[in-house]
Assembly symmetry: C2
Homo-oligomer: 426 residues x 2
């Protein structure tokens, strides 16, 4: 490639992304006119198209998996990439589940009367064009597209290079299903290039892409958050705390903390730090349950005194998201110390208290400033499905627009409708 | 100043802004614990302090005005800068009015029950630290501070250099009033430097400043939108349309369009483009009322045929916010053409229809994708006060978080509260 070509390549990719974004915006204008039934029908047809295309999708996936194995891809990453008939059926079923969710578009948030007499209402409308940047899980191609379409948004998808063939096959089937119901093909577009400059072009497309949602590891999310000129909906870390207050029921404390840490250690809602009240009488039982359950504990000096199997924590541990069977443990003297620890170290994702004292629970729920605050429940419930939202597009720890699990409603904005009878302003 | 000092200056300013932001965040943590009554009391005391400090504030303002005049500042700019006893009383009264508004913090947006049985609620909480960057109107110092405090947010204010003495005097009185009620001084801070690098430092303070609101001319807003790494709440342009449908009542069409353009030409909700339906029988009357009212009209060929006083429009006119007694006028063939014109040229601020046909009005309200859509009312109503919100911090045309007039609620976000009874996730 000539020097000239190398210099112009980023411009070409930027042009491509801008062209796709404009096409997506135009398609979104048509999508916005569809009623809930039409969008649901299109998604059900897309789900059927995914089932019909199973042989092609699984063949494409086998190709991606073979390439990944040849590249020495590890077990967990390969597992995220791999599809089989059951997983593909699950993807199609998930699209149908989205079709069955209540459509937020057109919902009236509130109504009021202007002092001059006009009727005011705030009505939910789609955001516009959503960019989704994701890594190896090919199900995101269908999941994210379905949530965008049901909420009246166009989607511009950029999947990981390791899943390129799978994503293309899923996208082709999905888009064909939409098209069969008259939804414009550009409502859901998959970036046709794996050029990394395309990610930069998406992140810079302010005014063309309305929101970017990264789905993947910390490296991807951090890059998107650092470089985006477009608003980003995401969470970087899930450094989730559980504070066991002295008035906690010991059996509940054991069961909930064990679940919060060990049910699945790799999810963002997994507990990463346990705060034990010095006055809680069963710290030894809580700690033993975790250790016996196979968790490595790293504690401050007072925590280490509880059980000799607890290793010493370093200063970094309090700011570490292990995503593994490892937990940092500190002993605190009451609610205020627990709140101070959380204020300093929480990533603002999910923090929980276990207590039998309602007043203390309410103080914790009021004062901890995280997207999700819980009393007497496992932080592993931090999930749109567990919150009854249906599928979620992600969990947001930013402070604006939407926080916590984000589903269809979080993919909408609102406009003000004003109905007058000829009012002129005095 | 040595070369070395010049090179290090931006770092010093950045450090200053970061230190102020950290102090503001710490103060916000305390502010968030105050109940509505305590915040209202603090604002009423701040209002009283503004009245008590009137001699000092007016003396500082006289100094600013003299300097501005010496610099050849023009009438309108000088008028925005100048305070007198009446205007200052208005500023204090506006602070008291904010103290009387319902506090959004703690409001429950909605409640539900998780499938596993926990009670879920979404509760409004402050956003955190709000940066306000503004120009010559010194009232913003008190207005913005009051809205931030009432919504539990800390404010970091950066006013225009032309109002530096006035802003300092207003801020000193306001902060003293807050402090007298136990609100930490850093809850409302005014940047102590007019160094332009401070604006850049504020715009780059992602993670320290949660939201930036620019208040001022297009140059300021454009710079903030282009350079900010922090989310921005703003509108750049108010290219507002009024479409006179063929079924509009002629008298209403004349009165509303005249008001929409001429009541005050310099506000963002002023109509900038009039779309006349070719089948509307009284276009000549609407046009004559505007011309006779002193408005210059620039039209397309069909509009020019209505009245010989209409000048030819250039292609730029359709994308121009005149903020003056100038209006572009086009003739359209029905609703679809009007919608297409608006989709292409609107800035997404406020667009209106005048029609006696309810079905057409509803189609317009549903399909125009602007922050505010109106039927049979003047676009000059695009204002938080006219919407019954009390004082507004600004009008937003972005698509996320808040759209249209933004008042106290727009200065909040929410968190999820989860109340369980020991649930562990299956």
């Amino acid at each position: 490639m000539s020097t000239h070509a190398q210099q112009t390549r980023p411009d070409t990719v930027t042009q491509l992304v801008e062209d796709l974004a404009r096409a997506g915006r135009a398609a979104q204008g048509q999508l916005a006119l569809l009623d809930s039934g039409a969008k649901a029908r299109a998604l059900r047809t897309a789900a059927a198209a995914l089932r019909d295309a199973a042989p092609a999708i699984l063949a494409a996936n086998a190709q991606d998996c073979a390439a990944a194995e040849a590249n020495g891809t590890s077990g967990a990453m390969l597992d995220r990439l791999r599809l089989d008939a059951g997983r593909l059926a699950g993807i199609a079923a998930a699209v149908e589940a989205v079709a069955g969710l209540p459509d937020p578009v057109g919902q009236v948030i509130d109504r009021s009367e202007a002092p001059a007499g006009m009727a005011l209402s705030r009505v939910r409308v789609p955001i516009g064009l959503i960019g989704i940047i994701y890594e190896s899980r090919p199900n995101v191609t269908a999941d994210a597209a379905a949530l965008c379409v049901m909420s009246g948004n166009a989607a511009l998808l950029r999947g990981g290079s390791e899943a390129v063939n799978t994503n293309r096959a899923i996208h082709a089937a999905f888009a064909a299903g939409l098209a069969a119901e008259g939804v414009p093909a550009a409502a859901v577009q998959l970036l046709p290039t794996q050029d990394r400059a395309a990610v930069g072009a998406m992140l810079g497309a302010a005014g063309l892409i309305d929101m970017i949602i990264p789905r993947g590891g910390k490296g991807l999310v951090a890059r998107v958050q650092a470089d985006a000129r477009v608003p980003v909906l995401a969470h970087l870390d899930g450094i989730c705390h559980t504070y066991v207050h002295h008035a906690a029921d010991p059996a509940m404390a054991r069961a909930v903390t064990l679940n919060a840490k060990m049910r699945r250690t790799g999810i963002c809602g997994a507990m990463e730090t346990l705060l034990l009240d010095a006055a809680f009488p069963d710290s030894a039982g809580v700690v033993a349950a975790l250790l016996d359950g196979g968790c490595t504990l790293r504690g401050d000096a007072r925590a280490q005194a509880i059980d000799s199997r607890i290793q010493p924590a370093s200063a970094n541990d309090w700011d570490t998201e292990y995503l593994d069977a490892v937990l940092s443990v500190a002993v605190v003297d009451g609610l205020e110390q627990a709140l101070a620890h959380i204020a300093r170290h929480s990533s603002g994702h999910t923090d929980a208290i276990i207590t039998g004292d309602d007043a203390v629970a309410e103080a914790f729920l009021a004062r901890v400033d995280s997207a999700i605050v819980m009393a007497n429940a496992s932080s592993q419930f931090a999930d749109g499905g567990e919150f009854g939202l249906g599928a979620e597009i992600g969990i947001a720890t930013g402070r604006l627009h939407a926080r916590g699990p984000v589903a269809l409603e979080g993919l909408t904005t609102y406009k003000w409708q004003v109905r007058g009878s000829g009012q002129a302003r005095a």
